[in-house]
């Protein structure tokens, strides 16, 4: 199976140094379970591909694209030429604009289906189909059976990446490619940038336009469920059990009884 892993230039969250983003390292690990992962990067530098080789890539392809140019046309042209069975990307970039739009734009240009937020992959018995486990948050999964070729984005809950191997990074090859001429400057919305400013945390339960007193109430838990709390002093244990089960069901954390009502 031919698998392409899209490798972008990540920035380390603390030092700001150029690194391979963790999600893409996780993507390489998932790909290694299915076949030989090949890397594809569009950008001015190839350092990040070298690191990706150390994390388990077999070969890397580097499309030389100047900084600040939309990588999607270059990536799409190369992927259309090589026709991999599976294209893996991170759900968001790391350290760049972090929009997560590149995989979607690629899927649209190549007219491929896209399955987001995958944490596990396996090939199914039927040839050409894949079984993907998609994260739904809170530990729940959706198991999707799909027919390739397709684009898949990886969720952070996927297995941890392989350890970095220096020898592998030295031995691996990186093929430089020239971008097809005619790539245009990225035309995103015009944005103005300034240093990040932390904003006050939203107080849960305080309404918009509420007074300071209302915000204080919400922050100290006097509003909301605690304010309208029910207190049962020395109830009969069975009565208490009935109350608790009814309350849990009303919140929706406990499944209703198999029969609608119990006398």
């Amino acid at each position: 199976m031919k698998i392409a892993v899209l490798v972008s230039t990540g920035r380390h969250p603390v030092s700001g140094a150029t690194v391979l983003s963790r999600l893409e390292a996780q993507a390489i690990r998932l790909a290694a379970g299915l076949g030989e992962p090949l890397g594809l990067h569009a950008g001015p530098e190839q350092a990040v591909l070298r690191e990706a080789l150390g994390q388990g890539l077999v070969r890397g392809e580097h499309i030389v694209v100047p900084d600040g140019v939309d990588p999607v046309p270059a990536l799409a042209a190369r992927l259309a030429a090589t026709k991999p069975d599976l294209i893996l990307a991170g759900r968001r970039g790391q350290g760049g604009d972090e929009t997560g739009l590149v995989p979607y734009a690629l899927a649209e240009t190549l007219d491929l289906p896209l399955i987001p937020d995958v944490v596990a992959m396996a090939s199914d018995d039927e040839a050409g189909t894949l079984r993907l486990d998609q994260s739904l948050g809170r530990g729940a999964l959706r198991r999707v059976l799909v027919r390739g070729p397709l684009v898949v984005t990886i969720h952070p809950d996927a297995p941890a990446p392989f350890a970095y191997a220096y020898g592998q990074a030295r031995r691996g090859t990186i093929v430089p490619l020239d971008a097809a001429p005619g790539t245009v400057e990225g035309t995103g919305p015009t944005v103005e940038e300034r240093p990040y400013r932390r904003r006050p945390k939203l107080v849960k339960g305080a309404p918009t336009g509420g007074s300071a007193a209302e915000r204080l109430k919400a922050a100290t838990g006097e509003a909301g469920t605690a304010a309208s709390g029910r207190l049962l002093v020395d109830p009969d244990p069975d009565e208490a059990a009935r109350e608790i089960l009814a309350h849990l069901r009303q919140i929706g954390v406990l499944a209703p009884p198999t029969r609608p009502s119990i006398p």
């Binding site: 972090e98 189909t129 994260s135 729940a140 305080a206 049962l232 069975d238 608790i244």
Partner: protein
């Protein structure tokens, strides 16, 4: 000219109240009667009352006004008692423009995040604009969350075909022609927004933390910088960044939108099954419903039977973990796990500050404790002052009865 000489005795005698028979033998005087002649006596209380401005709950006084104390400056209007009338529904007849909101509405319920997105849409809409929500049928409470219009948009939850959903959404948005479209930046909402953006070729402003008509702001480069732009067509709103709508409920009138129905092209997805999280193995940080035991529980076997019966994830206070009665990874609190659960069920836990820190993010708390004054009882939405042992047994009994009844029906 000399002043008239006062005769206090005579004055008092004049003030004495005539006694009717059978009343108390003590003489009583009416001291409010002004003594004739001399300076009038001041009554500071009455003056103060006279300065009071009528109306309002808090007393307000007009200090500059000097009154003789013949009563308030203005007669107080009878206080409108806070009646329990249903708040008036705001109706917007002809909105100048529309702001569309596409909530997740998982299971037909608006999540807190969905309501925050509606709040953001309300601030963008201002007074003249209308907020239109694209929600499935069963969704309730959309009016009070701030929606003026409602377009039926939903599909059966069992089938998973996000590409078709995005195509239908793009067609509906084309027919509605809203000025802005807002999505929650959640797993599903973020995915749908990016699909629609790729399909419509429109720029997307993702993960906005500030939403206002004057500009939207999002973090970038690992929160080193923030990017600001004028609100565009498509925006996703970060969780817990924008306040919910707090005004009077709105109409949520049903709009009929003719969207070209999508031809049934079979997608590449052959099957999709939902695998719910296994509460017994899911990490405590991800758990949705945690049942925890504290030092008040002596019989942990009953507790260990109760947890799977409730389909909950087990938790414990530090005392039990230190004693080796519960594994360390179940410890809830400052030095254990900080929960993000929907519901926390505390059995025999006093609610020490270090423990409560771990529960601060939980939406609902249920507590059973023998001590009425325990902090956990104060924090709980449903508090039961009773022996946890008997309550646990009663719960198990009741769940067993329900399971039996279910089996008989099946």
């Amino acid at each position: 000219m000399s002043r008239l000489r006062r005769d206090p005795r005579a004055e008092r005698a004049a003030q004495q109240i005539a006694r009717s028979d059978g009343a108390s033998p003590r003489p009583r005087y009416d001291r409010t009667q002004r003594a004739t002649g001399g300076r009038p006596r001041r009554d500071p209380r009455a003056e103060r009352a006279g300065q009071r401005v009528a109306g309002g709950v808090r007393p307000r006084y007009e200090i500059g006004q000097v009154s003789r104390g013949e009563g308030p400056v203005l007669a107080p209007r009878p206080q409108a008692a806070p009646e329990a009338v249903a708040p008036k529904i705001l109706i917007l007849e002809a909105p100048a423009f529309l702001i569309a909101v596409v909530p997740d509405a998982a299971g037909g319920r608006l999540s807190a995040h969905d309501r925050q997105v509606l709040g953001a849409a309300r601030t963008l809409a201002g007074r003249d604009g209308g907020v239109v929500i694209l929600a499935p049928d069963a969704c309730e409470g959309i009016g009070s969350a701030g929606a003026d219009r409602w377009v039926r948009f939903g599909d059966d939850a069992a089938a998973y075909d996000p590409a078709a959903r995005a195509a239908r959404l793009a067609a509906t948005l084309g027919a509605l022609a809203p000025r802005h479209v807002l999505f929650p930046e959640s797993l599903d909402g973020g995915d749908l927004a990016r699909r629609v953006a790729a399909r419509m070729g429109a720029p997307l402003f993702g993960n906005a933390e500030v939403v206002a008509a004057t500009g939207v702001i999002r973090p970038a480069r690992g929160r080193r910088v923030e990017q600001r732009a004028m609100p565009g067509l498509l925006t996703t709103v970060a969780p817990d960044a924008v306040a919910e709508y707090g005004g009077p409920p709105r109409e949520a009138r049903l709009l009929d939108v003719e969207a070209a129905s999508m031809a049934g092209r079979t997608g590449p997805i052959l099957a999709a099954t939902r695998i719910p999280a296994d509460p017994a193995t899911v990490p405590l940080t991800l758990a949705d419903f945690v049942t925890a035991a504290g030092n008040g529980i002596r019989d942990l076997d009953t507790f260990r039977r109760l947890v799977p019966a409730l389909r909950a994830t087990p938790g414990a206070s530090r005392v039990l973990c230190d004693a080796g009665l519960m594994p360390r990874q179940t410890q809830v609190g400052a030095s254990g796990t900080v929960l993000a659960a929907t519901c926390y069920f505390a059995l025999g836990i006093s609610g020490a500050p270090q423990h409560l820190q771990g529960v601060a993010g939980c939406e609902h708390v249920v507590a059973v404790n023998t001590d009425l004054h325990a902090a956990m009882i104060e924090r709980a939405g449903l508090a039961i002052v009773q022996d946890a042992q008997t309550v646990m047994e009663a719960l198990l009994r009741r769940l067993a009865v329900e399971a039996d009844a279910g089996e008989q029906v099946a």
